[in-house]
Symmetry: C5
Subunit: 92 residues, 5 copies
Amino acid sequence: MRLAKVIGTVVATRKEESLTGFKLLVIQEIDPLGKREVKNRLVAVDTLGAGEGDIVLWVVGGAARVVSEEHRKAPLDVAIVGIIDSVDTYDE
Amino acid sequence: MRLAKVIGTVVATRKEESLTGFKLLVIQEIDPLGKREVKNRLVAVDTLGAGEGDIVLWVVGGAARVVSEEHRKAPLDVAIVGIIDSVDTYDE
Amino acid sequence: MRLAKVIGTVVATRKEESLTGFKLLVIQEIDPLGKREVKNRLVAVDTLGAGEGDIVLWVVGGAARVVSEEHRKAPLDVAIVGIIDSVDTYDE
Amino acid sequence: MRLAKVIGTVVATRKEESLTGFKLLVIQEIDPLGKREVKNRLVAVDTLGAGEGDIVLWVVGGAARVVSEEHRKAPLDVAIVGIIDSVDTYDE
Amino acid sequence: MRLAKVIGTVVATRKEESLTGFKLLVIQEIDPLGKREVKNRLVAVDTLGAGEGDIVLWVVGGAARVVSEEHRKAPLDVAIVGIIDSVDTYDE
């Protein structure tokens, strides 16, 4: 599981029917410590109501389809599964 | 899920029988913000009628075989699952 | 399987219901030989009681959901599966 | 799916029994456009009769075990699924 | 599938119960041609009796759990599936 910031949305009218109804967000991966710039940007399915600027927890692969019966039948490989309140790291 | 531009096609006469009938496109991954050059080029199965220059949404792994019963039985790991109309990103 | 050091925790009040009850730790991947800095930081589910500074063994993908029936139903893709006592490498 | 060139073979007498009978080829990933050097070299299972210098289409992960009932029972994660006749890219 | 050299062992007393009895080896990925240094070091489950300095064939992901019924129930994602006798590459 990794962290990301929600930075946009994607619109796709022509798509696999099983993807209909899923909100597609553009997310930018972030380092949990905020110390390192991560340039990886992806498109994630969201069913938690994540919005602009939210820091989210996301998964890849089969995990993304475990979320619900609708996820299970849809060709998706990245899903938002949590909205982060805080990251606490130990003093180093 | 990631974005890519359709840049070509691939022909393979000798192949696993379950791949017969699938259109194989060469795609070049692109950054959703268009800010960063991504050099990753792959071969993807397409059943949406994507063509030259289209910006597509694609998935990897098991997600690529969720698309249909034919996909499920074929040894494929990259599939186009949407054709992008627009990417909207928040002001930064 | 890879090694990592536990460096923090993550709190997410809004999340997929099946993730409720799982402890979410921030881990930093480490090289088994300690010779190379690895900058990869992730969020992992922990059910072994790993704590600050522990060196842990972690898995990704479907392996993370093999751990228990609760893991199987939750959208998670990184799990801690062992706490390391020692790494012994042969003289080179 | 990606492209590769067949560059060698691997012999392993001691191996998982379910791998017996599979031909193991060394492949070197190539860029579909031939514009970029890719240094990734892997070992792939082949059942199509690919030989020295052939350009092949290969898959990773679960897709590699979809090929046949024998593949399904064997611990393999890279398989050749096509032999490429031609790659056609649009003028840019 | 990739090649690696066995370079050490890992001891973890506290671990998922289903991992009990598995030997955990530290492996260092190697290039099949020996031309390129690969710095990737992992922990792999071994049931073939691989030892110090052996060159092994290993798999990742679900493939690692196909090996046996015990593997199937354990949270592991890297397994040694062969011990290499020789790598033969064509003249280039």
